[in-house]
Structures are given as structure tokens and as C-alpha cells.
């Protein structure tokens, strides 16, 4: 056992990259849940984003176009969820699960031609001399553009929710849709937009896996990341910056686990893999003292004639 082989700087840089897919997806889901909707279809939207982004990046040769396509793909699939839950007033839990099933199948069908294909690579951002700063350079200035986009998205969501009228309306709809409706807000329209935003973010998160982290396309390649993103939103108690923190924590546990194994430390892998979920439950219990944490209307169906 030799812990000195673990380089903390590289570990942090690696976990930032590893955390980006869940960060993107969870930020999107946070907005959805703040609007009072629980969409359990994150996994399905991510995998569809993964193939849409991959296919378009391969066809056009541009990873950036791929990410745009991934966002559109995710948003389109989430629109299906919006139709079911907002227009047809179907149960959100069941619709979300069905969405995941559908997304996994559809992505596999779309991706049949792309197995074994190598996608175009997205280069890292060029910060010039900044990247050479010791410690901070590798951690802060050595990544691809989407990683920075993910962090910027967190900041944007935070600012929007906190300081803007849009954010206020969104939160009002999520807290009490009947009251928001009485105030004249279009609950269904706002929620549909929030759901599509969530879909777009999840799609980009999926594409980050298929275009940057792995990069390749294979069926079912998101391997449950969407479910972790759902846990993360709760862990973060629906607050954007805590999503960032949580994503790094969740990503960090996996990275640390792998690094410890490499360093020859015998660790019970399964029990470590459980820990993010157990921590999330503990956080939930702690949060329960604060009754305002969860959006009041989360998961409830809204119909105007109530």
C-alpha cells in the first residue's frame, strides 16, 4: 500500500470531469423539481442524448453540434413526458419510468449503426499560460468547454431562481400550483418549459459520456447515471450550488475508490458504492427539520378546475 501514488491534483481534475454528466442532468432535474414536477425519466433522456449527440457529432464532424443535437433530443423526449403528465394528467412516477424504458429502447434502435465508431474529439479549452500555474492550472484550466458550461449552468440556474421574476414564478408554481394559478400564471406552460429544460440538460449530460468521457457509443452506456442524478437533486436539497458540491462528492467517492484500489488498499467496494445513497438518506433526514426544503407541489398533478 502506498498512498503517495495518488496525486490529489489529478484526482480533483479527474473527479470534475467524472462529475459533469451527473451535474448537467441534476441541474436540469433541479429546475424540473423546483417547478413541482418529478421526472424519473432522467436515465432515458440521458441515453437518448448520448446517441443523438454521438450520431450528429459523427455525421457532422463537430462535437459542439453534437451537444446541441443531444440537448434537442433530450428535450424532445421530455416533451413526451410533458404531454403525458401536463396535458393527459398521467401519474408522474409511472410516466417517468415508462420514459426511461422507451428512451433505452429508442436509443438502442437509433444507435445500431454507430457501434464501434470513433467520434470526433472535443479539444480542451486553451487558457494559455493560466494552464501552467501550479496546482490551480491542472484543476481549473485544463478542461473541455462543456465542463465549464456545466458550472456556468449551475450559476445561471442559481441566479435565475434567486433574483429573477422567471425564477420567482417557477418557484411559486412548484410550491403551490393552485395559488400560482389563482395569481394568473400558466402552470402547465411553465412546467412544460421546465421539463424541456430538464430534458435538454439530461441530453447534454448523456452526450458528455458518449462524446467526452468514454468516448464511444454502446447500448445502455449510461449505466444508471440518471438515477444518481435524481439522488443528487435530493442530496442538494434543491439548491444549485449544493448540486455542484454533491456532484463532486459523488464523483469523488468513485474516483477515490478506484485510486485507493490502484494504490493497493483493500477496500470493500460494494459498501463504498452504497455510501452516496446512504449519505443522501442521512441528508434527507437532516433536512426534514427544514420543512421548506422540498417544493410543496412536488409530484402532484395539476388541473385548473380544482
Amino acid at each position: 500500500m502506498d498512498l503517495s501514488v495518488i496525486n490529489p491534483i489529478l484526482l480533483i481534475a479527474a473527479l470534475m470531469s467524472a462529475a459533469t454528466p451527473i451535474l448537467l442532468a441534476a441541474t436540469g432535474e433541479l429546475v424540473v423539481e423546483r417547478a413541482g414536477v418529478l421526472n424519473l425519466g432522467v436515465e432515458g433522456m440521458m441515453i437518448l442524448g448520448a446517441i443523438c449527440g454521438f450520431a450528429i457529432a459523427v455525421e457532422t464532424g463537430s462535437p459542439l453540434t453534437g451537444f446541441v443535437a443531444a440537448a434537442i433530443g433530450g428535450a424532445m423526449l421530455s416533451l413526451l413526458f410533458a404531454l403525458l403528465t401536463q396535458v393527459a394528467l398521467a401519474n408522474q412516477v409511472a410516466s417517468g419510468l415508462a420514459l426511461t424504458l422507451f428512451g433505452l429502447g429508442l436509443s438502442a434502435l437509433l444507435g445500431q449503426r454507430y457501434v464501434g465508431v470513433k467520434p470526433p474529439r472535443m479539444g480542451d479549452m486553451n487558457f494559455g499560460p493560466l494552464a501552467d500555474i501550479p496546482v490551480l492550472g491542472p484543476i481549473l484550466f485544463s478542461h473541455d468547454p462543456i465542463l465549464y458550461l456545466g458550472i456556468a449552468l449551475v450559476a445561471a440556474v442559481w441566479a435565475t431562481l434567486k433574483y429573477t421574476r422567471v425564477g420567482l414564478i417557477l418557484r411559486a408554481v412548484g410550491e403551490n400550483h393552485d395559488a400560482a394559478h389563482a395569481l394568473g400564471y400558466k402552470v402547465v406552460r411553465i412546467r412544460t418549459l421546465a421539463i424541456m429544460f430538464g430534458g435538454a440538460c439530461a441530453g447534454m449530460g448523456g452526450a458528455y459520456i458518449s462524446l467526452i468521457r468514454v468516448p464511444q457509443w454502446t447500448e445502455g452506456m449510461t449505466a444508471g447515471v440518471g438515477w444518481i442524478a435524481l439522488a443528487l437533486v435530493v442530496f442538494a436539497s434543491w439548491k444549485p450550488w449544493r448540486v455542484l458540491l454533491g456532484a463532486y462528492l459523488f464523483g469523488g467517492i468513485t474516483q477515490l475508490q478506484l485510486n485507493l484500489q490502484g494504490a493497493g488498499v483493500a477496500i470493500p467496494v460494494e459498501y463504498l458504492a452504497m455510501s452516496p445513497y446512504i449519505i443522501t438518506i442521512v441528508v434527507l433526514v437532516i433536512l426534514s427539520a427544514d420543512k421548506s426544503a422540498a417544493p410543496g407541489s412536488l409530484g402532484r398533478t395539476f388541473h385548473a378546475s380544482h
Binding site: 479527474a14 467524472a18 457501434v115 464511444q216 452506456m221 484500489q261 494504490a263 470493500p268
Partner: protein, 359 residues
């Protein structure tokens, strides 16, 4: 009941019961049960290539059918039964977890031949087959030992089962033989296939100084991670992963089920099929060694090819003594060769490997 019988016979008369009977039983029907999707680019992908090779080689004499993503357990029993009912003459079940289901269903269909991959239970109409992937690992170990400059070789392992442990031992023995300073860093990923996790594992190993990464998981994610790092050597696993050649991928172990599948199907056609236990390696072609690229120095390549030839003709066995176990106790005396029983159930590291096998 009468109505149902009537409906059933009507369905058959209308040709609704599937196309299998339109041309009678002239064609030999071969079924394949797959544990993953055929698009996984690894394990199932290679088995499906074997299926396509059977169609190609035997043409009109055969018809193949397959079902993918079949869960181990009752679903696999149902799929096997369904294939047998639909007139399959030979069924390949391609995952270890199908072992007991295969035995169960084979007992119900004594006239149908079954072939179970990687298992150890046989019957009069059930053969088993598996590949000696460790032979390929030995060659990889040799190249890895020669190629490493940091003397640190990373190994992405899947589950702590004999097959994987055998691979680690075979690679280590031959790496240490040419480079006594070599050290193995092993990460257990607890998955056969999870590209994101494999990529993370590869990066963790590379960050810890590994400049060769061996993998016993099936995706190309570690190859891409190595390419990104720039100076790290990798080997293809399950399929050739040639899109990463000539570097970082310098060679590969290829699961090549085609020769076996064709031979066994022919045996059924000729009526010469018998229950057997096949554990084939490089010699019969079940384990393929992907082209060794020019990134490997010519002399190393020559040695590797020589070892491949020696293993293929049986003059060299990768587990030849003197070898000790990790705890220092004797395992094989000088010149002694490991028996298949020990190899099949291998649950220990050889001397020199550090760390413990997780339990």
C-alpha cells in the same frame, strides 16, 4: 379447451405460428441465447459474429435465430424452451449464468443439442465450451513487461472469479519474467461493461504512473483514456478494437467463436455431435491474437509471436513451474504444468503480486 385447440390448429393452418415450418425441417436450426445486446461491442457482439459466420459458412443448410438481452434465470429457460419448441436442433447459451437453466431445459428436450459457454455442468446433450484467454494474457504480459518504462502496469479487472484471476496471473508471470521490477496495480471494477467506470479506472491507473493498461472489461473506454494520455500502451479485449491501432492499442485478445460454432453445427448436420468439454486456446483459433502493431519493437514482436506459436503447438504452457503462490508456498515444481482443474477454479495470486483478491 376444444375451442383453444381449434384456434391453435387454425393458427398453424394460416401460417401464423411462425415461418419455421414453411420449409419443413430440412434446414438445421441453430439458436443463440445472448446475455447482452448484440451492439455491446464486446462479449455478445463477438458471439453474434460467430453466429453470422455459421450462416455464411453453411449457407442454406442452416437457419439461425437469436434472442438478446436475456436475463439469467427463468427468462433464459423460457427462451431456450421456446427455441426448442420452434424446432431448434442446436442451442448455444452464451453466459455463465445460463448453466443451471441449460441443464434443466436440456433434460426436457433430449433430442436437442445444447452448448453452454464457460460453465462446468454437462449432460448427454449438453456440451460446454470456453476459451483459454489466459494464453493471450501471457503474450500481453510479455509485451507489457517489455514496453513499460515506469515498471507499473495497470489492470482493470471485472469480478474476482477464476477466469479473471487466471488472466492476472498469466499476465504477471510473463511480465515479471522479462522485467523483474514490474509492479501490477489492479482495480476491480465490479462490472463487465460500464464504459464510464472503465474510463475512470483507466485514468486512475494512468495517474498513478501506469504506462501499460490491461483490461478484462469489454468496452473501448480505457483505450480512449490511454490515447488521451498519449504515452500509454493498451491491448484490445474481446474484440480487436482496431480503431485504436497502432497506438495505444498494440495488440489484442479476440474471442473468436466462429470456428467452434461452425464445427459444432456441422457435427449436428452430419449426426456426429457428442457431448464434449472444450477448452480451446490459440491453437484451435478460439483465442485470436490481434495484429501486433509497429509501436512494438521488432524484437519484442518476434518474441511474442514465437510464444504464440509455442503455445499454439502445445510446446509451451503459460503456467509452467517453478511457480509459487502469493503466500510463498510452492505451487508448481520446475517444469511442472498446471492441471486444468486447478486453473478452472483458480482463486489465488502467484508470488509477486501484491494486494488481496476481494472476497
Amino acid at each position: 379447451m376444444k375451442l383453444i385447440t381449434l384456434l391453435a390448429s387454425a393458427a398453424v393452418a394460416l401460417g401464423l405460428a411462425g415461418g419455421a415450418y414453411a420449409d419443413g425441417h430440412e434446414k438445421t436450426k441453430v439458436g443463440f441465447v445472448f446475455v447482452g445486446p448484440i451492439g455491446d461491442g464486446g462479449w455478445t457482439y463477438e458471439h453474434n459474429k460467430g453466429r453470422l459466420a455459421v450462416e455464411e459458412a453453411l449457407g442454406d443448410a442452416v437457419e439461425t435465430v437469436y434472442v438478446e438481452n436475456v436475463a439469467e434465470g427463468p427468462d433464459s429457460e423460457r427462451v431456450m424452451t421456446q427455441m426448442a419448441l420452434d424446432g431448434a436442433d442446436l442451442i448455444f447459451t452464451t453466459s455463465f449464468g445460463y448453466m443451471d437453466p441449460t441443464i434443466n431445459i436440456a433434460a426436457k428436450f433430449p433430442d436437442v443439442k445444447f452448448e453452454h459457454a464457460t460453465g462446468y455442468k454437462r449432460a448427454d446433450n449438453v456440451s460446454t465450451y470456453s476459451a483459454r484467454f489466459y494464453e493471450g494474457r501471457a503474450i500481453q504480459g510479455h509485451i507489457a513487461g517489455k514496453m513499460t518504462k515506469s515498471n507499473i502496469i495497470g489492470y482493470i479487472a471485472s469480478y474476482p472469479i477464476p477466469e479473471v484471476i487466471r488472466g492476472i496471473n498469466a499476465a504477471y508471470i510473463h511480465a515479471a519474467k522479462v522485467n523483474p521490477d514490474v509492479e501490477f496495480k489492479i482495480i476491480w471494477a465490479y462490472t463487465w461493461f460500464d464504459p464510464a467506470k472503465e474510463a475512470d479506472a483507466a485514468r486512475a491507473l494512468i495517474e498513478q504512473g501506469a504506462d501499460v493498461v490491461l483490461q478484462h472489461t469489454d468496452s473501448t473506454a480505457p483505450q480512449a483514456a490511454a490515447q488521451e494520455a498519449g504515452n500509454v500502451v493498451t491491448f484490445g479485449q474481446a474484440s480487436d478494437m482496431g480503431q485504436y491501432a497502432p497506438f495505444p492499442r498494440v495488440s489484442s485478445i479476440i474471442d473468436d467463436w466462429a470456428p467452434y460454432y461452425i464445427a459444432r453445427t456441422k457435427a449436428v448436420i452430419d449426426g456426429t455431435w457428442e457431448s464434449t468439454d472444450t477448452w480451446d486456446g490459440i491453437g484451435p483459433g478460439m483465442v485470436g491474437i490481434g495484429e501486433i502493431s509497429d509501436a512494438v519493437p521488432a524484437d519484442v514482436k518476434e518474441e511474442a509471436l514465437a510464444m504464440k506459436a509455442a503455445i499454439a503447438d502445445g510446446s509451451y504452457h503459460p503456467f509452467t513451474g517453478p511457480l509459487k503462490k502469493q503466500d510463498g508456498s510452492d505451487w508448481l515444481a520446475d517444469g511442472e504444468v498446471a492441471d486444468d482443474g486447478t486453473l478452472a477454479g483458480m482463486n489465488f495470486y502467484v508470488e509477486g503480486l501484491t494486494g488481496e483478491i476481494p472476497q
